[in-house]
Symmetry: C2
Subunit: 565 residues, 2 copies
Amino acid sequence: MPEAVQRMSRMLIKTLRDDPADAETLSHRLLVRAGYVRRTSAGVWSWLPLGKRVMDNVARVVREEMDAIGAQEVLLPALLPREPYETTGRWEEYGDELFRLKDRKGADHLLGPTHEEIFTLLVKDQCTSYKDLPVMLYQIQTKYRDEARPRAGVLRGREFQMKDSYSFDTTDEGLAESYRLHRAAYRRIFERLGLEHRIVSAVSGAMGGSASEEFLAPAAAGEDTFAHCPQCDYAANTEAVTHPLRPADTGGHPAPEELDTPDTPTIETLAAHLGVPASATLKNLLVKVDGEITAVGVPGDREVDLGKLAGHLAPATVELVTAEDFAGRPDLVRGYVGPQGLQGVRYLADPRVAPGTSWITGANKPGTHARNIVCGRDFEVDEYLDVAVVESGDPCPSCGTGLELGRAIEIGHIFQLGRKYADAFQLDVLGPQGKPVRVTMGSYGIGVSRAVAALAEQTADERGLCWPAEVAPADVHVVAAGKALQTEFALEVAAKLAAAGVRVIVDDRAGVSPGVKFTDAELIGVPRILVAGRRSAEDVVELKDRRTGAREELTADEAIARLTS
Amino acid sequence: MPEAVQRMSRMLIKTLRDDPADAETLSHRLLVRAGYVRRTSAGVWSWLPLGKRVMDNVARVVREEMDAIGAQEVLLPALLPREPYETTGRWEEYGDELFRLKDRKGADHLLGPTHEEIFTLLVKDQCTSYKDLPVMLYQIQTKYRDEARPRAGVLRGREFQMKDSYSFDTTDEGLAESYRLHRAAYRRIFERLGLEHRIVSAVSGAMGGSASEEFLAPAAAGEDTFAHCPQCDYAANTEAVTHPLRPADTGGHPAPEELDTPDTPTIETLAAHLGVPASATLKNLLVKVDGEITAVGVPGDREVDLGKLAGHLAPATVELVTAEDFAGRPDLVRGYVGPQGLQGVRYLADPRVAPGTSWITGANKPGTHARNIVCGRDFEVDEYLDVAVVESGDPCPSCGTGLELGRAIEIGHIFQLGRKYADAFQLDVLGPQGKPVRVTMGSYGIGVSRAVAALAEQTADERGLCWPAEVAPADVHVVAAGKALQTEFALEVAAKLAAAGVRVIVDDRAGVSPGVKFTDAELIGVPRILVAGRRSAEDVVELKDRRTGAREELTADEAIARLTS
């Protein structure tokens, strides 16, 4: 079926001159202004004809590359029963992010944020022998997460389109291979889409599992920060940057000594009072982990990244302590806490607080600090966690070079889940020796609607959207710049292009000035703009490259030949 | 991109020998047994690789025909805010059928059962002038209805795939044209899909609006009953069959007369006691309409169709009266109610209870009936409604011939909504004279997932599914019937077919007998089956037509030529 010409006079496209009041990011502003999406409610969007086409193009590329690695497409429901999520604990762990509802009989359901449970059950039902594996299944489906702060248009919505896939293997090597196949497919997908991206180490968080990597699209509007080394190939989400623990001898340090430090409840006041760098001091943050008071130690020049901390401790909840918590614990002296005096309080610390390091820290008395407090001699760390905010110039954990930081949008995430879900549902198959073998799984996601926003962020310029050819809503935007003659000529050229399989939008709107049409064409961002203007009677058109602005005059036939070659 | 060969050894297809315990209908049994769908929870289904392909094929045909009439594809959310549905009253009217939920902030949402409200608001936002219209928009989307009795597999689910479209016009003639375009597109869609169907008059029900027609696929498993005339072209859902009202003179009847009829509280006992046909008596059913007691009169040989009654009175609720209701109304004598004595009770009646007709009916005294009770003389009908159950042989409302009844599945429904939704949201555009014009709408639906089940119902035979070519999950099912030689040959033929653009499934499973493979091939229902069997070494295959069973032996090249021609 040849492509039909899309006539703007009949299309549902309303471009806006002004930015929407609530738009924070470039992609949000432009996708709304160019008529690609409209907000239906907070974090919930309608995809209009142009936006639907771009999203379909992204989905097509994803589908082709998933098919190419032998993944099979299915479609599971979005409305899911509570029980399997109860089994894995995620019914509770997801907290407020999960949309929950009851049906007419009072049974609990949820709107699927991700489908590990249901796929595990499906494979348990369908596969009985090691011969049935490996299997990779995927779907492109509407997902739901009740974000606390939906933002940036379709970049972080409460209802969104996602490709999620799941691999099932009987061996760790098999899982590694399924993971490798997905990783390679993702690279091809993002390359074909024209999305600049980096693969970085990531934390697995509530998903569980052993290893995971994120595909990040560098963009100022991104919500993720990643660190990368300019020397070696190290790159990680800052949430996943880890520091090596380098223990030293605890001997040879002077004895602890108390210091009278009135009115120095903060690191800044303490460092100034003592004339030492903040990095010589030990900061101890008190939090509640599932309600239990816990201390977290980091060098004084560092902040604790609460998101990272929560990620490490998930599914436990992490809250800051309140004045009431202090009121019930006179042994915890606000502003003067030191790990050497903590009773019955779990102590977590940054790897830089290694055994053998010596610190100035609180003496657990008002107005008093202590120096020569040595880790491993005067206090013990219960668990090391990378919870300090990563800063530009921090040494690369791999080669020691100063790290660089960048903002990015998470467009893909791949997980080696291992046997967490298979264990929860006892997913076994009969192995080659006739004994049950526990299955090991991977889980892989691409934000399809988010990729549209990420592409817009990376490719737009000051004039508007500027799509890569693979995802553009059309190949050519024909502008009828004039009256009836130009419109007739434009429609004729458009029809010839469409007959040759070129996807064409033609701006045949009557009563709209050429200037407005040009502005709209640049805003809409189709890669090539063909103008039927004042030389239409001579059969001459202008062909323009949306990105470079390069333009040339050609006969219509030359232009058609160019565009169909 | 050439089609990849689908190897059954690697596909997620598990066929079952036995019918699922809960399967009521042919399509339910076969779609589960052949591995197309699996139940996730009551009325909620997972589409496995084969099922997904068939559904995608249905969706493709729908999309092509919608595009061909100039409808534009969009994608609106399924998670919808309460307010617009509150505005139209449907937040309440939908009753238990609507899935309702709250977000983390306590705001009310629903899962969209149909999207009139949201499309109306979208067009109000996008279109300002009569020049922007007409516009037709569609989406293929997941819909939700919390059915009281989800049944028959994917035929009536609580989550399902639907194509819904909406037309917006400024004039009644425009709406009629949009409706006509949809009607013609639907005929082409169902013809291309190979779905036998009838277009019948329908009731609009809670949707509102003036005119509507249903596309019904005749099938024993259908939930709808339709009446059609063997003489003229009359066809209607029995819910929509109407009888002409033929009033006669009320004079010339004898005076009313009471009859002592002890122990005759039913029509059967009364007719037997008096020796008259049931059709000479008037049956008066008492119901509560929004809590108000209401009487419904039909000839004694007829039953009241409560579904029809509820449909006519929607959005009012209809319940049967209870013993308590009688207890509070001594004037209503159970089993002996007659319309001539009703005080303050609304009286609805079938058109056959026309002015001038005379009846035997209750005398509103225990054990007593009355004869010569004449409509228009002794009692008045407040409103005529077609609420009697339609029976085979009832006169055709158009030509009087005896109607025939059939069971069918509703696969499409088209509505001329008129201005109901435009009024609710004040959807106006500026007209040619510069004055606001109220927009008039149509709404059109096709059950995409249901069409898969309807196709299965209509085309399957005792051996399994038997898909029309347009929707089949593949064009050819290649069976490797033997050992390594046959498997290698089968894969070679399959690869050649795939390279020529033919969609191929090849059953290359090791350790599965030819008999099981043949049975599975018939169950799965791909139109052509190509067997690489005992003559593989001679380069000879058997080509079989799944429907007719016709088979012939050919060289592989001949078979490939045949299948690619």
